[in-house]
């Protein structure tokens, strides 16, 4: 961790270049959700208002609807109905007939498997993210874009990988490139769907370090899906507990677990923190 504090200053400077000026000028972004979706074997019914916590963790067992909720926010679930407002921008409001398609929501999405584009190298993958959405503000020209790109590469420590083919990367490197690609599109909200699930213990620890660096140095709020208590303990500024398609508690991680009737997990969380 020492290395991180020493490098902290350059990261901080880099992060300032990264955050789109428009976002920094605005009051903290918050997230307003009212989504429901009915499938034969599953029902999602979520109403949620989240402050601009840097990392909100959606926590729950598999099948509790975390991934479906994340996909619905991104617009990837056409059957999901309701309202999605991110940082004051209405992405979806079905009663009012508003529904932005996926590509017009300012969303970044990191999938469980990195899902890098195999036909592009690392640089090509990251640049793909900044290719379609133009700038954060009127002043954000090529220069700002280039600085943002460099900052991202710096924060995630992938400078040495730029010319590599993606099928030569390790699992941890792939996931870092995927995160950089998602952020290169300057999202108003970064969605991460169990980004560490496919990695071994050491890699997980390493990526969590990178995510903490991102949290500290960019203004991009993150919604992070996991069923791992360890990730909840380490990353969550705010916990959202999901059970059977519903949100059963929101708040500080330990309190939220207790409020959701998961006292045993709350005790383990406390032990994890002290370990």
């Amino acid at each position: 961790m020492n290395g991180m504090t020493i490098k902290g200053d350059s990261r901080l400077a880099a992060a300032h270049a990264l955050a789109p000026p428009v976002l920094r000028a605005e009051p903290p972004a918050d997230l307003e959700l009212a989504l429901s979706m009915v499938r034969p074997d599953f029902r999602l019914d979520v109403e949620l208002r989240l402050p601009a916590a840097s990392i909100s963790v959606l926590f729950g067992t598999s099948g509790s609807g975390k991934t479906t909720l994340l996909r619905a926010i991104a617009g990837l679930e056409p059957e999901a109905r309701g309202r999605v407002v991110v940082a004051g921008v209405v992405w979806q409001d079905d009663p009012a007939g508003v529904r932005r398609p996926v590509w017009q929501r300012g969303v970044g999405y990191v999938f469980q498997e990195a899902s890098l584009f195999e036909h592009l190298d690392v640089r090509g993958n990251i640049e793909y993210g900044s290719r379609w959405r133009k700038g954060g503000g009127a002043d954000a020209g090529a220069e700002a874009g280039r600085r943002g790109f460099e900052a991202l590469v710096e924060i995630l420590g992938i400078g040495g990988l730029m010319g590599r083919r993606v099928d030569t990367l390790s699992g941890g490197e792939r996931q870092r490139v995927a995160i950089a690609r998602a952020l290169a599109a300057r999202p108003a909200l970064l969605l991460l769907d169990e980004p560490l699930a496919a990695l071994d213990f050491a890699r997980r620890d390493e990526i969590m370090g990178w995510l903490e660096a991102l949290r500290d140095h960019t203004g991009t709020p993150m919604l992070y899906v996991t069923h791992s208590l360890e990730e909840l303990a380490r990353l969550a500024d705010l916990a959202v507990v999901m059970q059977a398609g519903r949100v059963t508690a929101t708040g500080a991680p330990e309190a939220a677990l207790r409020a959701a009737g998961l006292a045993a997990l709350a005790d383990r969380l406390v032990r994890l923190r002290h370990a």
Partner: protein
């Protein structure tokens, strides 16, 4: 040297065969790309019947296919009536007629590799591209197509080679008219009918060699592709 060995009629047949194969491949890629994409990604209930229909030329005798196309293009067929009313005349026994027949006949050879390629890369890369701000069309062009490149190559080579090798459909629709609809395979048939085994041998050997080289080249390409993977 070929001037000595091949008579002008054989040369004309070879030229026509190559023209037909090239044109067929071009048209087929335009038709098969959207069709294969739809078959790979649609959830419509029409998908299965359309898929069977596209595969039909694989199992039907070429004469059956040729016969129906001939009826369709003939003076009383719907396509024939249409082309006549447009002042284009009849398509049967013309190059365009041959082209239509070849496209239908080789359709599964173009659609299947493309469909396999699209299905292999799946929906995820397109979802990623859309979350990054690409419209579905932009995502298709910049992600789905490049990822399907091996399938695209296979589809093009197979369409070309299969068209070179067709016989039944060409005979039914084209009628083996020298210089207009006579291709190598029908010319071989003509040579054999005329007991001209020497020229038949020559053209047959040419086709054999060509087909082998094409398939050999394809499998070489395939091997190289797999070798690059870790």
């Amino acid at each position: 040297m070929s001037d000595v060995l091949l008579n002008p009629q054989d040369l004309a047949a070879i030229r026509l065969t190559l023209q037909l194969a090239a044109a067929t491949t071009l048209v087929l890629l335009c038709v098969a790309l959207p069709l294969a994409w739809w078959l790979a990604s649609s959830e419509s209930r029409w998908r299965t019947p359309v898929s069977a229909l596209v595969t039909l030329p694989l199992v039907l005798p070429p004469t059956v296919l040729g016969f129906y196309l001939l009826v369709l293009m003939g003076p009383d067929g719907p396509l024939g009536r249409f082309t006549q009313s447009m002042g284009w005349g009849l398509l049967s026994f013309t190059f365009t007629g041959l082209l239509i027949g070849s496209v239908v006949y080789s359709l599964p050879f173009a659609v299947q590799p493309l469909r396999d390629a699209f299905e292999a890369s799946g929906r995820r890369p397109l979802e990623v591209a859309q979350t990054l701000g690409a419209t579905p069309l932009q995502a298709f062009i910049t992600v789905a197509l490049p990822l399907a490149r091996p399938g695209l190559l296979t589809a093009a080579v197979l369409s070309f080679a299969h068209t070179i090798g067709e016989f039944g459909v060409v005979l039914m629709i084209g009628g083996n008219i020298p210089g207009r609809t006579q291709v190598v395979s029908t010319q071989i048939y003509g040579h054999v009918e005329a007991m001209d085994y020497g020229n038949a041998h020559l053209l047959a050997a040419l086709l054999l060699l060509f087909s082998f080289v094409v398939l050999f080249g394809l499998s070489l390409l395939g091997r190289r592709r797999f070798r690059v993977l870790p």
